[in-house]
């Protein structure tokens, strides 16, 4: 599903070159549940952004679903994000002026799947159908993250990428969000790649990949 080969990413900050990823090789099978761990600054988020087609690697090749995407234009990448990738962020990233339902619909809009019923169904799946008309500020952190998951889920993408999805949540709602994600993975065979700091969470994934200084230092199956 996801095949990275010798991916490097270099940022130019003024005159300094900052190499964040130094040659990553990584394969994720379809339907796999993978955790990425590593200290801050190790390049986890950059890696996830490249997997999510939000960012382009400086060097290396990336095949998503068998298709080389590292050289696509920004418009083509946007189309891939719209159809194949669902993002779940640590800070939820819902639009505050829109209702929960409208936020979920936004996830469908760019995939060309505008349909209120699909959005409602996704909200029902995360257990928030009764909160459809609430705005994010009227929801708890856990509920907001579940809306964000519904938004990622509604268009039924093959891949969901989550960047510390429980990082901003208390342990109880964190657990709710996590079991929701793992359930979705089991039920729908979604490929799920998740960055986490929490070893307990990582243990619930099928594979743990550890990064350090822009390189994969270890891979272990749980």
């Amino acid at each position: 599903m996801i095949e990275l080969h010798q991916i490097t990413k270099t940022y130019t900050l003024g005159k300094r070159q900052l190499q964040v990823l130094k040659g990553i090789d990584l394969c994720v099978e379809q339907g796999e549940l993978v955790a990425i761990m590593g200290p801050s600054g190790s390049g986890k988020t950059t890696l996830l952004n490249i997997i999510g087609c939000l960012d382009k690697p400086t060097l290396g090749s990336y095949h998503l679903d068998g298709k080389e995407v590292s050289s696509l234009s920004s418009t083509e990448l946007a189309a891939i994000r719209a159809r194949k990738i669902g993002f779940v962020f640590q800070t939820f990233n819902l639009l505050p002026r829109l209702s929960a339902l409208a936020n979920v619909e936004l996830g469908l809009k760019y995939a060309g799947m505008d349909d209120r019923d699909l959005a409602l169904e996704a909200l029902r799946r995360v257990g928030l159908a009764d909160r459809a008309s609430h705005r994010p500020t009227e929801l708890s952190g856990g509920e907001q993250q579940r809306v964000a998951i519904a938004r990622a889920l509604a268009k039924r993408p093959p891949v969901i990428l989550a960047d510390e999805p429980t990082g901003n949540l208390d342990s109880k709602s964190g657990e709710e969000v996590l079991s929701l994600l793992t359930d979705l993975h089991k039920e729908q065979g979604i490929t799920l790649v998740m960055i986490t700091h929490d070893p307990d969470i990582a243990q619930r994934c099928q594979r743990i990949i550890r990064l350090k200084d822009g390189l994969v230092v270890s891979e272990e199956r749980t």
Binding site: L54, T75, I85, L95, R97, K109
Partner: protein
């Protein structure tokens, strides 16, 4: 059941929805900042309202001037002497002593389609009545003058052929002259002096208030009396010089023919060699109308341009707000991009937003502008004329302002890097 109907409705109107969706999301983001959006729209409202109000004032004034000229009739022709040439220096039109009373007589007898004709000799003279005096234009002419210029008498009567033939020393006063010399009392039958000559007041003209060729400030006397009172120069052939000749044609379609015949006649009478230029000029009300229409049209455009400056300022306000809005919503743009929005989607959304702002401002501005225009004309402050083309232009321009000034902020928004945009606090 209800939901199924909604689905059907959604499918049926999915195309319409596709169109309305950006408008709806523009509306939600505009509604989020009510005061700010209101102020931005206000800038456009003022600009568009100013354009409409000023253009309608311009058009109204134009129409008023036109109608006062056309009151003279499109069948009126005026002949004035040409320019003097003194040592190669050209004098103004009417400065040469080339047009004569005898010319007028010849035209009357030889040129067809002439309904009425009057030769005029005018000069500025000191007028005295009782202890009042003033300087005014004295027009010596024929009784036909009244008919030619559609004059109406308010008091007494205009002089007739009887007074004209006898060279009677009688005068008809313009409304303003009467007011200055005699105040509110009726001057008919009273005596006054023109220069050193005593004349009897026969009548007073109704005030015309016209902008062009107004007799309100003049005194009209028979040309025959004028010839006795004022030294009138003669040409080398002994003919009596006049200032101008006015005539009306019987058929408006014959104006060109009449003009041609008068030209031929005067050229032969004045012995002008073929190829040499005329020593007189013939103007029709039509040509004057055209010239004035161009002048007032320019004035209208000028007023519109002044108002357009305020519209420009409003447009800059829109651009400013859109730039702020893009900055504020950097994170939102990042989210939309992560969800798969293409540059075109982001660009379209912000452009729709600014067009929505200015179009709203434009429509409100049209209503306010029309209101001001109607109020001015109702209160009789100014004559205004609203026409649909101004309104359509204003709406189109307001939309154009939104697209023009929204372009750069929208382009900025669409070019944001999604990762940096998502990191923006």
């Amino acid at each position: 059941m209800k939901r199924r109907r909604t689905v059907k409705f959604n499918r049926k109107f999915s195309n319409l929805k596709k169109w309305l969706d950006p408008v709806y999301s523009a509306w939600t983001s505009i509604a989020t900042h009510k005061l700010r959006s209101f102020l931005t729209i206000l800038g456009i409202v003022i600009g568009i309202a100013a354009v409409i109000a000023l253009m309608s004032i311009g058009r109204g004034t134009q129409a008023q001037i036109m109608s006062s000229i056309q009151g003279l009739g499109a069948d009126l022709l005026g002949i004035r002497p040409g320019m003097t040439m003194a040592g190669g220096v050209r004098g103004g039109f009417g400065s040469a002593n080339t047009l004569t009373f005898e010319d007028a007589e010849a035209i009357k007898q030889q040129v067809p389609y002439i309904a009425a004709l009057a030769a005029t000799f005018s000069s500025y003279q000191q007028l005295v009545a009782g202890n009042q005096n003033m300087n005014a234009q004295v027009i010596g002419t024929a009784p036909e003058y009244m008919f030619l210029y559609n004059l109406e008498v308010a008091d007494g009567a205009f002089f007739t052929d009887y007074e004209y033939q006898r060279g009677a020393r009688v005068a008809v006063l313009g409304a303003n002259v009467k007011q200055t010399l005699f105040g509110d009392e009726s001057p008919v039958g009273q005596q006054m002096r023109i220069g050193g000559n005593i004349v009897r007041v026969m009548g007073v003209l109704k005030a015309k208030g016209a902008v062009w060729a107004s007799p309100d400030d003049a005194v009209i006397i028979p040309l025959t009396a004028m010839q006795q009172m004022v030294t009138q120069s003669r040409t080398s052939r002994g003919e009596r010089v006049v200032t101008s000749i006015a005539l009306k044609v019987t058929d408006q379609k014959q104006i060109e023919l009449v003009t041609q015949q008068i030209t031929d006649l005067l050229r032969s009478r004045h012995r002008i060699a073929p190829g040499a230029s005329d020593d007189f000029s013939i103007t029709s009300v039509q040509s004057v109308t055209q010239a004035l229409s161009e002048a007032t049209g320019t004035m209208t455009m000028f007023l519109g341009a002044v108002a357009a400056i305020s519209l420009l300022v409003g447009g800059i306000g829109v651009m400013n707000i859109m730039l702020v809005s893009v900055l504020e919503r950097t994170r939102e743009i990042g989210i939309l991009k992560a969800l798969g929005a293409k540059e075109r989607d982001i660009w379209g959304q912000f452009l729709t937003e600014s067009a929505f702002l200015t179009l709203t401002g434009g429509i409100v501005g049209v209503v306010v502008g029309c209101g001001v225009s109607l109020l001015l004309s109702k209160l009789k402050v100014m004559t205004t004329l609203l026409s649909p083309d101004i309104i359509i232009l204003a709406v189109v321009v307001s939309l154009g302002v939104g697209l023009f000034f929204g372009f750069y902020p929208a382009w900025n928004a669409s070019r944001l890097d999604p990762i940096e945009a998502l990191r923006y606090e």
